[in-house]
C-alpha cells in the first residue's frame, strides 16, 4: 500500500471516530434528558416528556446503526415498539420495550468508548506520521502505525453493533409491526381502488345508460309525430349503449383482466407478449403446475408485465424482451428484461407508481435497474401461498 492510500484510509477511520466522539457528547446530553424525563414522569406532570426522550435516543441509536452499516457494509437491524397513541400507551411502550434498555446500555458505553477511541486516534497521528513517514514513505515498506486507525474504528463499530443489535426474538416484534403497517397500506389501497371503480362506473357507464334511457324516452314521444327525429334519437341511443359497453369493458379490464380467468397467468402473459409488438420470450417455471396463485397476485403480476412491456415498446427502442415467471415456495417472482436503451426514469411516468402500489398492497417488492445503455430490468416478488 502506498503512503497516500494508507493516509487516506487512516483519515477515513479517524473521521468515523471523530463523529463517534460527537455521538458520545450527544449521549451525555441524552443521559441528562433521560433523567429529566424520569423525574418529570414521577411527578406525573411531565409524563409526555419521557417517550419523547426515548424517541430521541432511538434516533441517535439509528444514526449510529447507519454509521456502522455504512462502514462495515452490513446493516444493523433494529426492532422497536412504535411510540404512538395516547400518552399512557406511549409511556408504557417506552418503558416496557426491552430495546429502550438496550439503547440505554449503549448510551452509557458509547459515552466512554466513543471518547476514548477518538482520543487515542488523535494522539496517534503524530507518531504515525513520523514512523510511517520514514518506514513507508522513505524506505517503501508496508505502513505499520497507520493501519491501527482502522483497527480502532472497527473496534468502535463492532462494539456498537454488539450493543445495538436486537436479540433474535425481537425480529418477530418488528415483523408484526411491519405487517400491521403493510396491512394498513393494503386496506387503504383497496379502499382507493374501490373508490376509483365506483367513480369510473358512476361517471362512465352509469351516466351513459341514463342518457340512453332518456333518448329512448324522447324517441317514444316523437315516434308518431316525427318518425325521422325518433330514428335519429334511437341512433344516438345505440351509440350511447355501445360506449357504455366499451367503458364497462375498460373498467373490467382494470379490475381483473378476463384473459386471466380464461387462460391463467401463463396464458395471459403470453397473450400480452404476442400483442406487445416486441419479440418477447416467455419462460414460466412451475407457474402452470398445481393450484393457481390467488387472483390478486395473478392480477398484480399481469399488470407488472403489461406496464413493463408497454414501456419497453414505447420508450426503450427495444425489439426484444424476456419475461420470466418463477414459482418458489411462498413466492411468485416476475422478471421483465428488455434490450433497449435503458435509463428508465421512474418519476417520469405514473404507470410504474401504480404497479408499485399494487405490489406493495400485497406485501411484495419491486426493484428496477435501468442503467444508461440498457438493459432495463424490473423484478417483482409477490408473496403468496400456493
Amino acid at each position: 500500500m502506498t503512503m497516500d492510500a494508507a493516509i487516506r484510509r487512516a483519515w477515513l477511520a479517524t473521521r468515523h471516530l471523530l463523529i463517534g466522539a460527537a455521538v458520545s457528547l450527544a449521549c451525555y446530553l441524552m443521559l441528562g434528558l433521560l433523567l429529566l424525563g424520569l423525574v418529570a414522569t414521577l411527578l406525573i406532570v411531565g409524563a409526555g416528556i419521557l417517550p419523547e426522550t426515548v424517541q430521541t435516543v432511538r434516533r441517535f441509536a439509528s444514526f449510529e446503526r447507519r454509521r456502522v452499516g455504512a462502514r462495515t457494509g452490513e446493516g444493523v437491524p433494529q426492532a422497536y415498539l412504535p411510540l404512538t397513541g395516547p400518552v399512557a400507551e406511549r409511556l408504557r411502550h417506552a418503558t416496557t420495550d426491552p430495546a429502550t434498555y438496550r439503547d440505554l446500555r449503549w448510551v452509557l458505553a458509547q459515552l466512554v468508548y466513543g471518547l476514548v477511541l477518538c482520543y487515542l486516534s488523535l494522539i496517534l497521528w503524530l507518531p504515525a506520521i513520523i514512523v510511517d513517514g520514514i518506514w513507508c514513505g522513505v524506505l517503501g515498506r508496508r505502513p505499520v502505525v497507520l493501519p491501527v486507525f482502522d483497527v480502532l474504528a472497527d473496534l468502535s463499530c463492532s462494539w456498537s453493533r454488539g450493543l445495538l443489535q436486537p436479540p433474535p426474538g425481537a425480529d418477530l416484534a418488528q415483523r408484526v409491526e411491519q405487517l400491521t403497517e403493510t396491512r394498513a397500506g393494503a386496506v387503504a389501497a383497496h379502499g382507493a381502488e374501490l373508490r376509483r371503480i365506483e367513480r369510473d362506473l358512476h361517471d362512465g357507464a352509469q351516466a351513459r345508460l341514463v342518457s340512453l334511457s332518456m333518448r329512448i324516452g324522447l324517441a317514444k314521444r316523437a315516434y308518431d309525430r316525427d318518425p325521422e327525429a325518433a330514428r335519429k334519437l334511437l341512433d344516438d341511443a345505440q351509440d350511447q349503449a355501445e360506449q357504455a359497453l366499451a367503458e364497462l369493458r375498460h373498467v373490467v379490464r382494470g379490475i381483473h383482466p378476463p384473459v386471466l380467468t380464461d387462460r391463467g397467468l401463463d396464458g395471459a402473459v403470453r397473450a400480452l407478449a404476442a400483442s406487445s409488438g416486441l419479440s418477447v420470450e416467455v419462460a414460466a417455471d412451475g407457474v402452470t403446475d398445481g393450484p393457481r396463485a390467488p387472483a390478486a397476485v395473478e392480477a398484480a403480476a399481469y399488470f407488472v408485465v403489461a406496464e413493463a412491456l408497454t414501456n419497453a415498446a414505447k420508450h426503450s427502442g427495444a425489439t426484444r424482451a424476456e419475461v420470466a415467471l418463477t414459482r418458489t415456495p411462498g413466492m411468485l417472482r416476475v422478471l421483465v428484461r428488455d434490450h433497449g436503451c435503458g435509463g428508465a426514469d421512474e418519476s417520469a411516468g405514473s404507470g410504474l407508481i401504480g404497479v408499485r402500489r399494487r405490489v406493495a398492497a400485497l406485501d411484495g417488492t419491486v426493484s428496477l435497474t435501468s442503467p444508461a445503455g440498457g438493459p432495463t430490468e424490473i423484478e417483482v416478488e409477490l408473496p403468496c401461498a400456493w
Binding site: 345505440q238 349503449a241 355501445e242 359497453l245 366499451a246 369493458r249 373490467v252 379490464r253 378476463p258 384473459v259 380467468t261 380464461d262 387462460r263 396464458g267 403470453r270 397473450a271 404476442a274 400483442s275 406487445s276 409488438g277 415498446a313 414505447k314 427502442g317
Partner: protein
C-alpha cells in the same frame, strides 16, 4: 340458413334466436354449455355456428375451444365467435387454420343488426369478419420504421376495413368513395407493405392479417 348457436345467458340466447329467426334463419340447435356444442354441431351439420367464448362449466374459453375443435372435425363449417371482450391471441388462434369462414366479433356488435347479419352472411359464405377493435389493436402496435407509417390516412382506413374482412364494394360504400379508388388504394397498400398481389376474398384478408401479426 340453418344455424347452431351457443350462448349460456338465457336473456342473450333468446334475443339472438329472435333476431336470427326474424332475419329468416333457422336455428336448428341451441347449446347452453361448452360440452354440448360439438355434439350439437355434429348432429345438425348447420350452415354456420354462432358461439359465445365464455361458457359453463368452467366459464373460461370453452366456446373458443369448441370452435377450434369444430374446425378440426368439420373443416368447412363457418364459425362466428362472439365475446364480451376481444383478445388478439384468440383471433390469431381462430385464424390459425386459415381465414376462411371465420368470424370474431364483440357481442356489442349484435346491436347493429344489419351489420351483424351481414357479417354472419360473409362468414357463412367463406369470408372473414374480424372485429374492428382487434384490427385497431393490430394496427396500433408501434414498430419503429414500420412500413405502416408510410401509409396515408386513407390507405390505413382501407387497410383496416380490408382486415375486418370487407369486400371492395363495402369499403367503397363506408368510405364514400368509388370502387375504382378503393382498388387504387389497395394497390398502393400492397406495394408499400411489399405483399404479393392477390385477388379479393379470404386470401387477401389472410395476407393482410399475416402481415399485421408478423
Amino acid at each position: 340458413m340453418r344455424l347452431v348457436i351457443a350462448e349460456d345467458n338465457a336473456l342473450l340466447r333468446e334475443g339472438l334466436v329472435l333476431l336470427l329467426q326474424s332475419a329468416g334463419h333457422d336455428v336448428a340447435g341451441v347449446a347452453s354449455t361448452g360440452p354440448e356444442i360439438l355434439p350439437q354441431l355434429l348432429e345438425h351439420r348447420p350452415d354456420a355456428a354462432v358461439l359465445d367464448v365464455r361458457m359453463p362449466p368452467g366459464f373460461r374459453d370453452e366456446g373458443l375451444r369448441a370452435a377450434l375443435a369444430a374446425r378440426e372435425s368439420l373443416p368447412d363449417l363457418p364459425v362466428l365467435v362472439l365475446s364480451q371482450y376481444v383478445e388478439e391471441t384468440y383471433a390469431a388462434e381462430l385464424l390459425g387454420g386459415g381465414a376462411r369462414g371465420v368470424g370474431y366479433l364483440l357481442k356489442d356488435r349484435v346491436g347493429r343488426v344489419d351489420e351483424f347479419l351481414d357479417a354472419l352472411e360473409r362468414v357463412a359464405s367463406g369470408g372473414t369478419a374480424l372485429d374492428p377493435e382487434v384490427v385497431t389493436e393490430l394496427l396500433s402496435r408501434r414498430r419503429q420504421g414500420s412500413p405502416l407509417d408510410s401509409l396515408t390516412a386513407r390507405e390505413r382506413e382501407v387497410l383496416q376495413l380490408m382486415a375486418e374482412g370487407h369486400d371492395n364494394a363495402t369499403i367503397a360504400k363506408s368510405l364514400v368513395i368509388t370502387e375504382r379508388s378503393v382498388h387504387k388504394h389497395i394497390g398502393n397498400v400492397f406495394t408499400k407493405l411489399d405483399l404479393p398481389p392477390t385477388e379479393g376474398g379470404h386470401r387477401r384478408v389472410r395476407a393482410v392479417l399475416a402481415y399485421l401479426n408478423g
